[in-house]
Amino acid sequence: MSYDVIIGLEVHVQLQTQTKVFCGCSTAFNPQAPNTQTCPTCLGLPGALPVLNKKAFELAVQTAMGLNCEIPLFTKWDRKQYFYPDLPKGYQISQYDLPFSRNGHLDIPPATDGDTPIRVRILRAHLEEDAGKNLHDESGRGAGSMIDLNRAGTPLVEIVTEPDLRNAMSARRFLEELRLLLVYLGVSDCNMQEGSLRCDANVNLHVHGPDGTKIPTPIVEVKNLNSFRFTEQAIEFEVARQWEQYQKTGQTIHDAPKVTRGFDPDRGMTYALREKEEAADYRYFPDPDLVPVTVTEEQLSLWRSRLVESPASRRERFRQEYGLSLYDAQVILDQGVLFADYFEQVASQTKDGKQAANWLTQEVQRVLNDRRWTLTEFPFPAPALGHLLSLVSTKKITGKSAKDVFNLLVEGDEPEVVTSETIDATIAERGLALVEDTGAIDMAIADVIGRNPKAVQDFRSGKQAAAGALIGQVMKAVKGADPQSVRERLLKQLEG
């Protein structure tokens, strides 16, 4: 017997707004000062009313556009009702039957060149408010529980996929691509430590029956996975557990209701969450404190026009236009929009994508890491680096000299912003320009050969390494000679 794994994800993304979704309080992550970013509205005080943050709605729509969703022109707000201490109103303002977007998709990029992407359909994305956070005394000393409502009212987009994922690795890679997209769109910082991106995974198996039928096992929802690795581990664990369970009990989806489980990262295991005594009935109904939102086609096209290019599209362009491998394209994309923009500027200037990619992923990244600079603090603007790399590809300087110049110009506590002029001046100052005078090089070679009969003899008797010493002497004599050219000419004279 064998089986297919069926996985659907629900991803909660905190939108990067200055203020909360239904009031003017700050959304800054601030666990050190609990309950300081609150007001009557997000505290759920009697008589306080919600007012939609238009920016949150715009970011939510842009998220859905990035996920290729349909955006209906009418959407409304519903109350999802349940009692919990971190939910001060006794209901969460969310969206039930008319979410602001539906029917989209996101492709998981191929893992290696030659593979095809995997399409994951998006069922819907809706906007809602986050709850607060219950803080329990874990010391065992019995101090009371406390509630921090700083987070209450932070805008969340819940993205629900169709059950299109077939293994834990794909789920992880889907989340990675989703995060990349959200960061590119500028809609979320996706900081998982701060809970900006959280995931629930619905997992079950389709067991292949002996007669070719598929037997679905009960669905398990693993809740609150706050890292991609945990998501992958939790799914892997669930698949194994469910398969074992099925073999033991033969239970199918018709025999057991959907259950929820938690994930213990220390043990790498999922565990049963205490089931509510009754089935949850959220008693959704339209929130009478808010008016429905209607958008126009004009508004949507304006927002669409402000969308940045998706990572998927860039990845494809980097491969097509600049000839990058999937791996190189991904390394650059992973560094963020600014880095990808920087790469494109350099590569389009030098017409050598591979060279630009190598420099960015090696020299530039090394300096950024060493100096803990962001790209905006980096003193080497893209046109300057483009100029430097062009000098290498047109053989005006050597690759090694270029690296020397690069390192020299980013030295110091506050290096000046580099320009083409400062680069040229440094090259001139240090005499790093390659000499094109073949006559001078040949004369120097003849001279070096004449003065080193021992080395010449060694070479001629088969010691290739002897040439290195001779080349070094010629290079010393002719400052700025291209070592490649010196080697070729020396060998010719030695062999001739």
Binding site: L45, G47, A48, V51, P85, P88, K89, D281
Partner: protein, 495 residues
């Protein structure tokens, strides 16, 4: 007949009080003192107020008097004492909704309507009693005290704005604010012989009004006369960006326009408003009112509101559904009443809510919770919303033919305290004529139309199209002048 010379200044109409304040014929301190003295004398038996703020009110009055004495320009209602229903927030006050649940609740902010009222110079002298969380039609659901009808202390003032109506009927103040979800301003106004106006939904900010049913709630004025209601309505109306359902429509100068003659008025009446259950004396008084309109030159014609019979049923699904949700926040966790009898979280919720809410509030929470439950939503809530749309359409069509629809406010005059306590359905039916207004979101006014043989007030209701409060006020003023109903006051205050 009252002789103005002998009338205590707290018993004057709002426009007279304002005029005398402006002329400096009286000071605000004198007016506030007269109000406080009247409360002191009579409120032990009426029970309209839950809170009175004597020092604060006197201090504000003194400050306005000083500003007037210095010749400063003061706002239009400067120094005028007003009562507010105890379900509107104001920083520093304890706001209880007459519920054990909020016995100690002090909001850190002020309601939009109260801000406007105070900015206009009105002085909040105290907070008035109500049915707990504004749920009820007799005031008897207050967890704090009974309010009695100043016309007959054995009778109910109506509700839920029981104290706001009684405080005006007892002439402590010339005006007050109430809130109206299904008739909670108009029905007590009718039973107490004062004027009450429920504005168009969205006309007055709900920000800071402790919600009962959000899609129906609206703050509005009560006053001894139509002009007073117009003055207060003008002060509290206007767009509030903090309330998404508040509408940005310019506010007419109601106080200036109310007394302008209205030519070519078309008054409609609906046979459904004269059906079974309507007291004969009330029916007769309303028919006389229609006759008076005819005599005043109005065209009076029959209109149909085909779905009126379903309004109570729709209302008692929609309002409790919203209430069940709005009142979920009272969970004993963050503020308000918390039981000390609990073992775990579920107990804490159950015990705090079980002990903190009164029986009528619990009944409505249960009704609403049931109506919104999985499997029942379509059958109840969704269907009630459909009926609501039909009722709205009925009114739209009726207002093609008439300017206002006249009818009774309530089926009976003030009933005896305790009379309907054990019969919630009978109690619910006392809002049968007022509920349609809230479902349709339109404005309506209740004003004294006459008196029963036993001397109890009978109210006339006029309903109008959305944002046509001015037409209601003008039509009401026209009636008030011709009917001579203002001459009577409750016996306890010298009427």
């Amino acid at each position: 007949m009252s002789s103005t010379a002998a009338t205590p200044i707290n018993q004057l109409s709002m426009s007279e009080q304002l005029q005398r304040l402006q002329n400096k014929a009286i000071s605000s301190v004198e007016l506030v003192d007269a109000t406080l003295a009247a409360i002191e004398t009579h409120d032990g038996s009426v029970g309209a107020f839950l809170q009175v703020y004597p020092e604060q009110a006197r201090a504000q009055a003194a400050s306005f008097d000083e500003r007037r004495a210095r010749g400063e320009t003061v706002p239009s209602l400067a120094g005028l004492p007003i009562a507010i229903k105890d379900n509107m927030c104001r920083t520093g006050d304890t706001v209880t909704c007459a519920s054990r649940m909020l016995h100690n609740y002090r909001p850190p902010y002020t309601a939009g309507a109260i801000e406007r009222l105070e900015r206009a110079g009105a002085i909040v002298v105290g907070r008035t009693n109500l049915d707990e969380f504004a749920m009820g039609s007799s005031g008897e659901n207050s967890a704090v005290q009974l309010t009695r009808n100043p016309w007959d202390l054995e009778r109910t003032p109506g509700g839920s704005s029981s104290g706001s109506a009684a405080s005006v009927a007892a002439r402590y103040v010339s005006g007050s604010l109430g809130s109206d979800t299904g008739g909670s301003i108009r029905q007590p106004a009718g039973l107490c012989g004062v004027v009450g106006l429920k504005p168009t939904y969205g006309r007055v900010s709900r920000y800071g009004l402790i919600a009962f049913a959000s899609s129906l709630d609206q703050i509005g004025p009560l006053a001894t006369d139509v002009t007073g209601a117009a003055i207060l309505l003008e002060a509290i109306s206007g767009h509030d960006p903090r309330d998404s359902t508040s509408v940005d429509v310019p506010v007419p100068s109601y106080s200036q326009l109310v007394q302008q003659p209205l030519a070519g008025l078309r008054v409609g009446f609906c046979p459904a408003h004269f059906s079974e259950g309507l007291d004969q004396e009330v029916a007769q008084t309303i028919r006389q009112a229609l006759t008076l309109y005819r005599q005043l030159g109005a065209e009076v014609k029959e209109i149909a509101l085909p779905h009126a019979d379903y309004s109570v049923a729709a209302y008692y699904l929609i309002a409790p559904s919203e209430a069940s949700s709005n009142l979920s926040r009272y969970d004993g966790i963050h503020y308000g009443y918390r039981s000390d009898k609990f073992e775990n979280l579920a107990d804490l919720y159950a015990a705090s809510r079980g002990e903190g809410f009164g029986p009528e509030v619990k009944r409505r929470i249960m009704l609403g919770t049931y109506a919104l439950s999985a499997g029942y939503y379509d059958q109840y809530y969704a269907r009630a919303l459909k009926v609501r749309r039909l009722i709205r359409r009925d009114y739209d069509e009726a207002f093609q033919e008439v300017d206002v629809i006249a009818g009774p406010v309530a089926p009976t005059t003030a009933f005896r305290l305790g009379e309907k306590n054990n019969d919630p359905l009978a109690m619910y039916l006392s809002d049968i004529y007022t509920i349609g207004t809230n479902l349709a979101g339109i404005p309506a006014i209740s004003l004294p139309a006459g008196y029963s043989k036993s001397g109890l007030p009978i109210g006339l209701q006029l309903q109008g199209p959305a944002f046509e409060e001015i037409k209601l006020l003008q039509a009401a003023y026209m009636f008030e002048q011709a009917a001579g109903v203002l001459e009577r006051k409750p016996g306890m205050v010298g009427g």
